[in-house]
């Protein structure tokens, strides 16, 4: 654990902040730790976490993806059309369909980024506009409400008692976290993702297949975008083509807040979860304390700004720490 915290300073910091915050909220409002509040906190943020772990993989590999929320919208819409055409379908078909479509969209990004060596932010901004424009044009902005029942029915998975039930999206979130953790921590491919984000030239020289690595990163992001999109329908019970726009930046902020580094090589699944949760808990806490919902964003923005500044106070102490280590090293 000590080792983990040492190599994951971002996660350690946010864990402390989150724990303190929850403690304060727990004391200030008894309903904070109630089963129903915890359940709704998780149910409402499951999709963000699914997207966050997808984005995490791209950030680890040194890229960025602005287009995933639009990608998720496209997947939602196409999946809905496929399912309607099939006359209903079921969860398995839905998952496969959303996953495959998501991976396809991710692969388009990867092909452009790796194939033409264009910086990822440009490509994903371009695909954001292209996909969003095409989606809105093709659908004329019409929502789909007539969806199969299995898709929109609330499915309780675990009951926390007292009216709090964790729903299917939370289970899928847990599975996505586990799968992503397994990919990035337990497979050689995952370690190559870190290496490529950390030092692309070094990775290339060591024999890492860099094009393949980028397809895996953006493909995984696409997969998570698709699955997240599928789950979002379960929560919202409708497919609205422009409903997810703007979520990409919120998720990005949460992932970076959770210790992932813009520029690659650093980040963890736990950090993503904590990053999303921190924003959610701040919002939840303000809600419980009866603060006007209109003030939420302001406080969240201020929290992130404070966190950024705090990060760099840390940096100062790390710099002095390094000098210490260096002289220590020489004394040995």
């Amino acid at each position: 654990m000590r080792d983990y915290l040492r190599t994951h300073e971002g996660e350690a910091r946010i864990l402390v902040v989150l724990a303190l915050l929850m403690l304060v909220l727990g004391i200030a409002s008894p309903s904070f730790f109630s089963a129903s509040n915890i359940a709704s906190l998780l149910n409402n943020n499951a999709v963000n976490v699914i997207w966050a772990v997808g984005l995490l993989v791209v950030l680890i590999a040194g890229g960025i993806d602005i287009s995933f929320a639009v990608g998720a919208s496209v997947v939602q819409y196409l999946t809905a059309l496929v399912l309607l055409w099939l006359g209903g379908g079921n969860w398995l078909i839905g998952l496969v369909c959303a996953g495959v479509l998501g991976i396809l969209i991710g692969s388009i990004n990867a092909a452009l980024i790796a194939g033409f060596r264009i910086i990822s932010i440009i490509i994903t901004i371009a695909t954001f506009n292209a996909l969003f424009g095409l989606l809105m044009f093709a659908t004329s902005g019409r929502s789909i409400y007539d969806l199969p029942d299995w898709w929109t029915d609330r499915i309780g998975v675990i009951s926390l008692g007292d009216g709090g039930t964790l729903t299917l999206p939370v289970a899928v979130m847990a599975a996505s976290m586990l799968a992503t953790w397994f990919l990035i921590s337990r497979t050689t491919t995952g370690r190559q993702l870190y290496a490529f984000g950390d030092n692309p030239e070094g990775a290339r020289r060591a024999g890492v297949a860099t094009v393949k690595i980028q397809f895996i990163a953006y493909g995984w992001m696409g997969l998570m975008a698709g699955i997240g999109g599928l789950m979002q329908v379960n929560i919202a019970q409708e497919v609205v083509p422009n409903a997810l726009i703007g979520r990409e930046l919120d998720v990005l902020a949460a992932v970076v807040l959770g210790g992932a580094r813009l520029g690659g090589g650093r980040g963890s699944v736990l950090g993503c979860f904590l990053g999303v949760l921190l924003v959610a808990v701040v919002q939840n806490g303000l809600n419980l304390m009866g603060v006007s919902p209109y003030a939420f964003k302001m406080v969240i923005g201020l929290t992130i700004l404070a966190a950024i500044s705090l990060t760099n106070v840390e940096l100062m102490s790390r710099l002095t720490g390094r000098t210490w280590r260096r002289s220590h090293d020489q004394n040995n």
Partner: protein, 506 residues
């Protein structure tokens, strides 16, 4: 055609590598011309040559990156092979530690060492095996490192150890080290040399690739010298000196006349008293007169550049005083130092000396933006182009168009641009930190002539270097710095160069 006066054969047994008649051509450039190179098992060997002499090309040929022209004969550990490739070379036990180390700062020490086991067919990671691999490799070196620490927490020397361990982890029996001491302190270099001795004893051959070999000469057995893509010869390391090596690498006697002069009673421009910054330098007293060139010789890590940074206002001394033209100064930042007439030519021209991507013109005027501004504070195109022309012609710098990126220039011409940008502020004190690093040998005399000409205009010059001949032939007075202190003062007109070399490289 020079013949190779090799006097000592390689140690007994099949050699680690034998590459013969290696020729490599890139377009119009003959990078290597019929070069032969061999290293014995467990031998410590030096491969010396100036920038552009073909050292890197030769390493890349041995590592399988480049294919030599037909007619070459190559063998690894007694086994002749028709053609090499990076995986084959690696399999045969050849490893190259590039100057940038090619490590992964965010990953742990263990993963960095065992990284080669993470490449290849996708499979599960076994962290136990990784730690074991890392521990074994470090054990061979007799070094203990915290395996779970992220690499970024290690000093450069520690990272170098990790890079060596990584080579050993993939069973390397011949390790090339590209400029290994370039960024190490003295203590770190000593540590590295101790590690190399251990390697050599266990039968692993090590080749140092460098143009600065003073530090590694005494643990090496032979030196191979390249110049202009051709083999100059293979020499015994015993009895080799840095200046002899310099002659071999350059193919001519270095500017052999001592140019030292007496500054006479010229006013003192820079004076420091008891200047101290803990861990960097201590009790530094020095004085430089107008028109005087003072050499500051010392190995890397002696505190030379750190002292220069303080004089240039980038760091603050903890104790002591700096006087500029008689007045005490305390710089809060380097802008104040520049305003007071202090200029600093960094040894790191690529990332600190020039903004490489930007144009020659912009790099020339960057220090004098106010002077080239005209009406309304706008930069005047006319004044700018006049300033650029002045800067470029001043030192007869060879450029294409002033709008070309400065990175398109050769090292010598880049350094002329750096000097021109500092001359533009009419400096009182010019600090040169290893002014000929990365400058071709032929172009070095030109730089030295410019430096002397600047001194003749009354500029006080502090020339930092780790090459004795550089300060010996170009300075009026030489200060020797070691472990943060100035430990000796020499007059090139009275001290023989050999004595100075003995003192500095001892």
């Amino acid at each position: 055609m020079m013949t190779a006066p090799s006097t000592q054969t390689a140690p007994d047994g099949p050699e680690a590598i034998r590459f013969e008649h290696i020729s490599i051509r890139f377009g119009g450039l003959q990078a290597l011309d019929d070069v032969s190179f061999s290293v014995g098992r467990g031998e410590v060997h030096c491969l010396a040559g100036e920038n552009g002499s073909g050292k890197s090309t030769l390493i890349k040929a041995i590592a399988g990156v480049y294919q030599p022209a037909p007619g070459a004969r190559m063998s690894y550990f007694g086994e002749t092979i028709p053609a090499s490739s990076p995986p084959l070379a690696r399999k045969k036990g050849v490893a190259v530690i590039w100057q940038d180390l090619a490590l992964f700062p965010e990953m742990t020490v263990a993963e960095n060492i065992a990284f080669d086991s993470l490449v290849g067919k996708p499979r599960l990671v076994n962290y136990g095996t990784i730690r074991e691999t890392a521990r074994t490799a470090l054990g061979k070196l007799g070094v203990e490192l915290d395996l779970a620490a992220p690499l970024r927490s290690l000093p450069i020397s520690g990272r170098q150890i990790v890079a060596i361990a990584r080579a050993l982890a993939s069973d390397a029996r011949l390790i090339f080290m590209d400029e290994p001491t370039a960024s190490l302190t003295q203590a770190e270099t000593d540590h590295l040399l101790a590690v190399v001795r251990v390697l050599s004893k266990s039968g692993v051959a090590v080749v140092f690739v460098s143009h600065r070999l003073a530090e590694v000469l005494d643990i090496s057995s032979r030196v191979t010298v390249l110049r202009d893509g051709k083999l100059v010869g293979v020499f015994d390391a015993a009895g080799m000196t840095q200046s002899r090596l310099g002659e071999l690498m350059t193919g001519r006697q270095l500017n052999q006349a001592v140019s030292a002069r007496d500054p006479g009673n010229a006013p003192v421009v820079l004076q420091t008293a008891g200047l101290t910054r803990a861990g960097e330098y201590e009790g530094v007293n020095l004085a430089i007169r107008a028109g005087e060139i003072v050499g500051l010789i010392g190995l890397i890590g002696a505190g030379r550049s750190e002292l220069a940074h303080t004089l240039f206002g980038m760091t603050r001394p903890r104790a002591g005083e700096i006087r500029l033209a008689g007045k005490p100064v305390r710089f809060a930042n380097n802008r104040q130092a520049i305003g007071a007439g202090v200029a600093y030519v960094s040894e790191d021209r690529l990332s600190l000396g020039l903004v490489q991507q930007q144009s020659i013109a912009d790099n020339t005027v960057i220090t004098t933006l106010r002077a080239i501004s005209g009406a309304g504070g706008l930069i005047s195109a006319r004044r700018k182009s006049a300033a650029v022309t002045r800067g470029v012609t001043e030192f007869s710098t060879k450029i294409g168009s002033p709008d070309d990126a400065v990175s398109t220039l050769s090292g010598g011409n880049q350094q002329r641009i750096v000097l021109a940008k500092w001359l533009a502020i009419s400096p009182k004190l010019l600090i040169l930190d290893c002014p000929t690093v990365g400058v071709d040998v032929g172009a070095r005399d030109g730089i030295y002539r410019i430096v002397r000409a600047l001194a003749d205009r009354g500029i006080a010059i502090l020339m930092i270097s780790d090459e004795v001949p550089e300060v010996y032939f170009n300075c009026d007075r030489i200060l020797h710095m070691a472990a943060g202190r100035i430990v000796g003062e020499f007059d090139p007109r009275r001290t023989p160069i050999a004595e100075l070399e003995r003192t500095v490289y001892a």
